[in-house]
């Protein structure tokens, strides 16, 4: 466990009859944004519900700021949850709904807090329409507002980007980053990898109920030592460059693609970086581009969950 751990998950398993939803998951989450990734049915929502104390783990324990949310109800006031389900009271207005959430969280002045929360998610507190008339994106933002109304230290969001248009997604991501910058712990569950990549680089990857990887996904990519890194090199003499890199044993494979492009596979990026300039100089090649092709979250995610 790290010193700044806000959420500590210790050997947590969850069984639903004969189905193992989570199996011996151990991890810590500190302040800042962490993305909880996994395919559908991987156990993300179950883990979030256990973290919030909504459901008990079958084995193991979860602590939020050193306290067990299932036993210590006060700690639940430090948590804001955006559930995946459409859990809104349809006849209420957005303000009424968020204000109600504030009252339930024992906020001193629920009305101003609700108005502030709605402003945060760019909704008009004065809108008198009931939430049942709202679009999916607006309802999603109401859910986020009710999670923030009591200014929680820990914010857990289960698929918060679902139903939002691209512009709203960007704004919501900006909001999450702002919350993280304020020192809060923001845990976002999602499978929209492009958007998650914009949130930050720290991830927890769950697959089939097991924690597959944790940490910075760039560092996880470095740990994928059985998969060569693929890079695209732009050069005026791609054949000469490919031959030179193969001669120098800096790459394990090279393919010339087009008049000025060569694709290479290397198992040691550091050694490749060291060698490529020397080889280019030696072979009188003008190198104008080096682009990593599989250093993104999508590549890491496919590696971790694709073999199951």
């Amino acid at each position: 466990m790290t010193d700044d751990a806000v959420i500590e998950v210790d050997e947590v398993s969850k069984f639903f009859g004969g189905i193992v939803a989570l199996s011996e998951v151990s991890c810590t989450v500190g302040p800042g944004i962490t993305a909880l990734l996994g395919p559908n049915g991987a156990g993300k929502s179950t883990l979030l519900r256990i973290m919030c104390g909504l459901t008990p783990p079958s084995r193991g324990q979860v602590r939020i700021l050193g306290r067990v949310p299932r036993r210590d109800l006060d700690v639940t006031r430090l948590i804001g949850l955006v559930p995946q389900q459409e859990a809104l009271f349809d006849p209420l207005t957005a303000l009424q709904f968020v204000e109600l959430a504030g009252r339930l969280q024992k906020v001193d002045q629920p009305r101003p807090a609700a108005e502030a929360a709605l402003h945060l998610v760019e909704l008009d507190p004065g809108d008198g329409r009931p939430v049942r008339t709202y679009s999916k994106g607006m309802r999603q933002r109401v859910k986020v507002a009710q999670a923030l109304v009591h200014s929680p230290q820990v914010v857990m969001l289960d698929e918060p980007l679902e139903g939002l248009d691209p512009r709203q997604r960007l704004r919501m991501i900006a909001l999450f980053r702002r919350l993280a910058d304020e020192g809060r712990t923001v845990l976002v569950s999602s499978h929209v990898l492009d958007e998650v990549e914009k949130l930050g680089s720290r991830v927890l990857v769950i697959a089939e109920g097991r924690l597959a990887a944790t940490g910075d996904f760039h560092q996880i990519r470095e740990l994928m030592d059985d998969r060569p890194h693929r890079l695209r090199l732009g050069a005026d003499k791609p054949r000469a460059l490919a031959a030179g890199l193969l001669d120098a044993a800096a790459v394990v494979g090279a393919w010339v693609q087009g008049p000025e492009t060569v694709i290479v596979d290397t198992v040691d990026v550091a050694a490749f970086r060291h060698a490529v300039a020397g080889v280019a100089r030696q072979r009188d090649v003008r190198l104008h581009e080096v682009v990593a092709l599989d250093d993104d979250l999508d590549s890491v995610f496919r590696y971790l969950v694709g073999r199951r």
Binding site: T2, A212, T214, I220, L223
Partner: protein
């Protein structure tokens, strides 16, 4: 798990091709033996799976323990002569435990062979370095080991118990002679009953049917041979194929004891034991050679 880069960790990479050393056929056979022994003895299984093996082993060993106790007590009270009247010679010990041996062999081989065919997991075994014959070898060795546990173990316990009470054979050579006879007779019984029970168990994939058929064969052989030899005054060598009395008579002959019908020659007894052992083995091997293995 990989070494951490910063605080990043990969904990589970999912399915991965096995690149480690491959232990080969001998290891696979050993695994079959170990797994079969666990299954037969009910190890790592519910308590009800342990009842029959524990009962059979207890029935086989309790007489030996009692006899050793009698020898010990008689030594303490100076009644060794009376004890010698009660405690049977080594060759006759099997007469006390033949029911335990029969009980044991009727469920051991079916337990070892039938479930793999019934659950169609034989194809999984055969997708490993095992062939049909090496698979069968593992099964035979496992069954023979547990059967030998009740055919060799109790007389050995009796021998060593008596020796500890200074009531064993006189001198080292005499001890070796008794030990050799014990191992020979115990091994003969183990081989015979293993072959017979496995031959029967190879013909069905239902344990209960195999156990009942084995029992029926053991009892049936005694009825048929008894009727031929004593009811119809047939040739005495037929008695050699009696599956319970003839092996016990052969054991007595191995020990040089004169018991049973003197008209039944030792050759007939040995031939009978050999016949059943060969027949059971042949049935088992032929059955597994021709068995269609499907997924």
């Amino acid at each position: 798990m990989s070494l951490p880069t910063g605080d990043a960790r990969i904990l589970d990479r999912g399915y991965r091709r096995y690149d480690g050393p491959r232990a080969g056929t001998a290891h696979a056979v050993r695994s079959v033996i170990a797994h079969t022994l666990r299954r037969i003895l009910g190890l790592r299984r519910p308590a009800r799976a342990k009842v029959l093996p524990v009962m059979a082993i207890a029935f086989a060993y309790i007489p030996a323990i009692v006899f050793v106790g009698i020898v010990a007590l008689s030594g303490r009270f100076g009644a060794r002569a009376q004890a010698d009247l009660i405690v049977p010679p080594y060759g006759e010990y099997y007469g006390f435990i033949i029911s335990a041996i029969v009980l044991f062999v009727t469920f051991v081989a079916p337990e070892a062979l039938c479930p793999d065919r019934r659950s169609r997991s034989l194809s999984l075994y055969l997708s490993s370095p095992l062939t049909r014959m090496t698979y069968l070898l593992g099964k035979v060795l496992a069954v023979a080991i547990v059967v030998a546990f009740v055919t060799v173990g109790p007389p050995l316990l009796l021998l060593f118990g008596r020796m500890m009470q200074s009531a064993g054979p006189d001198g080292f050579l005499a001890f070796l002679a008794v030990l050799g006879r014990m191992l020979a007779s115990g091994t003969m019984l183990a081989a015979l009953y293993t072959a017979v029970s496995m031959g029967v168990a190879s013909l069905t994939d239902r344990r209960a049917v195999a156990a009942a058929a084995t029992l029926l064969l053991l009892i049936g052989s005694s009825i048929v041979t008894g009727t031929i030899v004593y009811g119809l005054n047939g040739p005495s060598w037929v008695f050699g194929s009696h599956l319970t009395a003839a092996p016990l008579l052969l054991v007595s002959r191995i020990y040089g004891e004169s018991s049973g019908d003197p008209q039944v020659t030792t050759l007939a007894l040995a031939a009978g034991a050999l016949f059943w052992t060969a027949l059971g083995s042949a049935v088992c091997v032929l059955r597994y050679r021709s068995l269609q293995v499907t997924r």
